[in-house]
């Protein structure tokens, strides 16, 4: 018997989880208060769609702006820190340690400064997502093969040409990985801050329904965040794959393209 493909297994697992989510609460093994079934979750979601839709828009708005802040500032600072040695020596150790700090403790300060509206959440999530973007941009620029720059110089590339035609394309894969991680963190940052102190957004709905023990509505909100994060990650990975063909696919495919070539035509060494 042929072994099923990993993709098939993954899909079956997701289906199994959804089926169990529906079946287990139905049998009464776990009370609906602790785990509302899939159908009651979806019913809650549909019944109050106007509320959820509104909350989703607020969250999306905050996430988009926070991502803009995180990516813009992260790439800018990362490029400076990665490209200029004095800045790197000065700032990189500081930023690396800051990355380990649970930045969520700063959120109360942000609310004190910016109020409990969207601004505080955008600022907080922006800072939260900034670090991975900044660190991987710096790493991407710092780890460029110096031979490539030397070759470009030998071919007469000016400094702007070296940056535009070598530094940027060479660091894109690492930067994109940072954007994916940073993007995921801004979603977390927005939702967490909404759950802590706020008056709108999906995170706010989670907290509100939890306080009134409306499990189906809590799960509906959780479900939405889950879908949102998965959609973002899928999109980010797609972009990454598109641009990183030469980096990842290459290593895997080198042997079999070489073999195929050998069987079809004599290739020069």
């Amino acid at each position: 018997m042929r072994r099923p493909r990993p993709v098939t297994v993954r899909r079956l697992l997701i289906v199994a989880v959804l089926v169990l989510w529906e079946a287990v609460p139905q049998t009464g093994l776990i009370p609906e208060l602790l785990l509302p079934s899939l159908s009651s979750t979806l019913r809650a979601l549909i019944a109050d769609w106007d509320k959820y839709g509104e909350a989703l828009l607020v969250t999306l708005y905050e996430v988009s702006l926070a991502m803009l802040v995180a990516c813009g500032a992260g790439i800018l600072v990362g490029a400076l820190v990665g490209g200029l040695k004095p800045l790197r020596d000065l700032l990189l150790p500081v930023f690396s340690s800051l990355y380990a700090v649970p930045i969520v403790i700063l959120y109360p300060i942000f609310t004190a400064w910016l109020g409990i509206g969207s601004e505080a959440k955008i600022a907080f999530a922006g800072v939260y997502g900034f670090f991975p973007v900044m660190l991987s941009t710096a790493a991407g620029i710092r780890t460029i093969d110096p031979q490539l720059l030397l070759a470009a110089r030998a071919m007469g590339a000016t400094v702007p040409q070296q940056i535009g035609r070598v530094v940027i394309p060479a660091s894109i894969p690492t930067v994109l990985t940072g954007l994916r991680l940073g993007g995921a963190l801004t979603i977390i940052g927005v939702v967490v801050s909404e759950m802590l102190t706020s008056t709108a957004g999906i995170g706010y709905l989670v907290t509100r329904y939890r306080t009134i023990l409306d499990s189906a509505h809590v799960f509906a909100a959780v479900f939405m965040i889950l879908v949102l994060s998965i959609l973002f990650d899928t999109f980010a990975r797609y972009i990454e794959r598109r641009t990183m063909v030469w980096q990842t696919a290459g290593r895997r495919e080198r042997t079999d393209t070489a073999d195929r070539r050998l069987t079809t035509a004599p290739a020069p060494v």
Binding site: Q147, A151, G156, Q161, A170, R254, T257, P268, V269
Partner: protein
Amino acid sequence: MQRLANLSAARTDAGPTAIEVAGLSHVYDGREGKVPALEDIAMTVGAGRFVVIVGPSGCGKTSLLMMLAGLRRPSEGAILCNGRPIPSPDPERVGVVFQEASLFPWLSAQDNVEFPLALRHAPRAERRRRATDMLDLVGLQGFGGRYPHELSGGMKQRVAIARGLVQDPPVLLMDEPFAALDEQTRMTMGHELLRIWSQTLKTVVFITHSLTEAVYLADEVLVMSARPGRIIDRIAIALPRPRTYDMMATDTFGRLRDRIWQQIRTAD
């Protein structure tokens, strides 16, 4: 200026000169103060000649090559390339091929070869044509669409050679271009390089660690001493051209190889 004048006066012997180096010394700032890297290098490479530089590791061969390419400035001395100093890289006078092929992994072979032309904003059609011609010359017709990761080590070096030659510079500098290749590929590539050289009539300065490669390729081998690098011997390789693999088994080949080896051993 005195040295430059001397150089011009000395250029009366046979044939035009491609590269002239006089009184070149280099000192760099190491961790423990000034380190002399190169000392009083003088060399003349006639146009169309194939000169190989050998020497112990760290003797400054690569530094010397960087200076010939205009990538580094010597502390002292003069370099003339086709009669003019070369204070900064000039791909129309000097092409460079590095040990690691240094191809841009995000560009296809064709785009890699076009890269130096694109830097100069050459028209697209002309870029295409010249790059295709170069890929044909190095034996890679039909491989232009491949990315570096889809090419073998030898093929990557072929692309690098094509890229070095695409602006038709009279001089090609090569820094251990085949060092990372396996022995068989290395031999084939050496032979291929001689073919390309004889077709294009370039002046080649080639650095290697392999004495066999040195004798097989060169018109003249320059032997350098350990740091600070000096040229301690110049050995004319009088083997006839075209070179063949059989020559490696001859006594002459062995004697030449041995002489270089003795020089390097005492120099180290």
